[in-house]
């Protein structure tokens, strides 16, 4: 994954490679207990327990979805109110202009549409995707990260980061390989 990089050759992280989810989970727990904060794992599928192991929790997506749904509901309803009651009142069989039951389907569909777009755009936006280049792609053998290997990175900007100690700690967790990654 060559490409554009602002800080070519600046050290990015020390990355350890594991063969199974259990091993990487154990290693992530070891790192947390040792006090590391800037730890990130890269895995082919979500490894359950990893969020706790690297001490990470984020509940903003559900709120984005909720706000999206709320926006959709308000927009959907006001669209119908504005067009059917305010701007273009039309007497259809003497029914009230503000016929709420008949406004529910469109309001509902708008709620779902905006909430879903909120979920997708929120997820991609907070994950900063699309992102064609990332230093982690310089890790040796990283192509297997989306297949059958599990990578654990300790970033250099971690307050506890130390070239020798961090590497030694990672090596003690029986990885397949440990590499220093630049990018």
């Amino acid at each position: 994954m060559a490409g554009y990089s602002r800080h070519k050759d600046a050290p990015y992280a020390i990355v350890a490679e594991y063969g199974t989810p259990d091993e990487i989970l154990k290693a992530a727990n070891t790192l947390r207990e040792a006090g590391y904060k800037k730890v990130e794992s890269y895995t082919p599928f979500p490894v359950h327990g990893m969020d706790e192991a690297i001490g990470y929790k984020d509940q903003r997506i559900p709120w984005i979805v909720f706000m999206g749904g709320l926006t959709g509901a308000v927009l959907g309803f006001s669209l119908q109110y504005y067009t059917a009651v305010w701007d273009y009142p039309l007497n259809i069989g003497g029914r009230p202009l503000m016929s709420i039951p008949s406004m529910i389907p469109v309001t509902f569909e708008c709620t779902i549409l905006f909430a879903s777009i909120g979920a997708v755009v929120g997820m991609l936006g907070m994950n900063m995707l699309p992102q064609p280049y990332h230093p982690i792609f310089n890790t040796p053998n990283f192509r297997r990260c989306s297949q059958d290997r599990f990578f654990l990175a300790v970033e250099v900007n971690d307050p506890k980061f130390d070239d020798v100690e961090t590497k030694a700690l990672l090596e003690s967790t029986s990885p397949l390989n440990v590499a220093k990654v630049e990018g």
Binding site: E40, Y42, P46, V65, E109, I112, N127, P130, I136, V181
Partner: protein
């Protein structure tokens, strides 16, 4: 409890054979990446036979639509009072087929039914293509599809707005939302698999293509965390959406006062019918496809068995709907409803009604026995009958109700023309064309969810045999 569940898993596993993460990649991703040799240009290979036929039939669609745009909808058999006929039958039929995809991907995900993992991508693709076919019909039925944007509430110089008290307007919103959300759900599910494809590809342009599609996905745990939240919420949103879409489709009929349509049972009856038809279509495709692609270990007999059970259950609900329709007609005591019942039972199109009862009511009965649920040929034939039956159901409901009106003087029979059939067949061609393009060029089975499931069921065994040193030489390391 946990132990007995474990035993059940062992008895008939969701993934058969000795599988590893690597073997799943090989089974799914390499089918797309290593095309050479797998798809010889040979008139005997099933992909070319089906694709060729589908493209041929697709041309019938182009022809029918071209002639329609030139001549207007007078080329169809629609008349007054039967203003809704093949166009609306096919719309409802296709939308219904699409619903199984959302049901499998969303509702089964919420219910934590792991067996969905090997069929959900496939079923979601089916949803998208079926909704595309469905959308064509109301679009062309407007007569002037080039001004179809009038359906949307866009400000215009005449100062008019669409009438939101009409179910047809609800339909516009329901179907467009359904298509958008299904496409989003499908694409979000594909992102991590695109990354797998990118990393397994050998040719540069293929890597770049999948790299673009994967948007630089790198499987970071913070990303997975948000990804799973978003995916689960999308499933949660799709579930009421799918129910609402067919409910709203049924409102197109139920809200009117046409005899045979003005029935409160329509929403649940339509939703059950949609799931019924959709599962039939999933099975119709899955049974041959899993053989051709060698996926009998991933889409197992257990999957077929469970899908058949859902089909049987929804089929029985639909049959109950038929009984209620007759009951309501009789119980209403109005002459026009009774006249309609009589018309269905013994009118000129009685054969359609009785074939529908046979296809949707009687033909599914063998599925009660477990032995029959293992006979793939039998299931396939039943699914074909169900697909035909569900089309006939819409024929019985839509034009057959319109032919009989409150005023006997306006009764008129409806006869479809060759263009009606041409366009119907044409959309079938389009559906299969897209479906088989998808089968060949995209990962048809959700790779990362299969790996997750494999790890949950088989644990450490799933990992690739341990190598001391990585295969490629370190480039950025020490």
């Amino acid at each position: 409890m946990a132990e007995s569940k474990q035993k059940l898993m062992e008895f008939r596993p969701l993934i058969e054979g000795e599988q590893t993460f690597e073997s799943i990649d090989q089974k799914v991703a390499d089918l797309v990446l290593h095309q050479k040799g797998r798809y010889p240009v040979n008139l005997k290979s099933p992909w070319y036979i089906i694709m060729g036929t589908a493209i041929g039939i697709f041309h019938l669609l182009i022809l029918s639509v071209g002639w329609l745009l030139y001549q207007g909808i007078g080329i169809w058999g629609n008349n007054v009072p039967t203003a809704w006929a093949f166009d609306i039958i096919n719309f409802v039929w296709w939308i219904g087929i699409g619903h199984a995809g959302t049901l499998i991907s969303a509702i089964l995900l919420l219910m934590r039914q792991n067996w969905r993992n090997s069929i959900n991508r496939f079923a979601e693709a089916m949803t998208i293509f079926a909704v595309m076919c469905a959308g064509l019909y109301p679009l062309l039925h407007t007569g002037r599809p080039w001004v179809a944007y009038w359906l949307f509430p866009l400000p215009n110089i005449t100062g008019m707005w669409p009438n939101f008290r009409s179910p047809l307007m609800w339909d516009v919103f329901a179907v467009s939302t359904y298509f958008t959300v299904s496409a989003l759900f499908w694409f979000v599910g594909l992102i991590p698999d695109f990354a797998t494809m990118r990393d397994r590809a050998e040719k540069m342009w293929i890597r770049k293509l999948f790299g673009l599609l994967s948007m630089g996905w790198r499987g970071a745990s913070r990303h997975w965390h948000r990804y799973e939240q978003a995916y689960l919420l999308l499933a949660g949103l799709s579930t009421p959406l799918v129910l609402s879409v067919h409910t709203i489709v049924s409102y197109d009929f139920a809200v009117s006062i046409v005899p045979g349509w003005n029935v409160t049972v329509f929403p649940p009856y339509f939703v059950a019918g949609a799931v019924f038809a959709g599962f039939a279509m999933v099975l119709l495709l899955a049974i041959p496809v899993r053989k051709w692609f060698g996926w009998t270990e991933i889409i197992t007999d257990k999957h077929i068995d469970w899908m058949t059970k859902i089909m049987l259950a929804t089929g029985l609900i639909v049959f109950y709907g038929y009984i209620l329709e007759v009951f309501y007609g009789w119980y209403s005591g109005t002459s026009v409803e009774l006249k309609l019942l009589n018309f269905r039972f013994s009118g000129p199109y009685a054969w359609a009604y009785w074939s529908l009862i046979f296809c949707n009511g009687i033909a599914i009965q063998p599925l009660w026995s477990q032995k029959n649920r293992r006979k793939e040929g039998l299931i396939w034939v039943i699914c074909l009958l169900v697909s035909v039956g569900m089309w006939l159901e819409r024929f019985v409901i839509i034009p057959m109700s319109l032919m009989q009106n409150y005023l006997p003087s306006s009764d008129k029979n409806y006869y479809p023309t060759v263009w009606d059939f041409g366009m119907f067949l044409g959309t079938i061609g389009m559906f299969f064309m897209f479906m088989f393009l998808f089968l060949r060029f995209l990962p048809v089975i959700n790779i990362f969810e299969m790996k997750d499931l494999l790890y949950k069921t088989q644990g450490e065994k799933a990992a690739t045999a341990r190598e001391k040193k990585p295969a490629t030489a370190p480039s950025g390391g020490e």
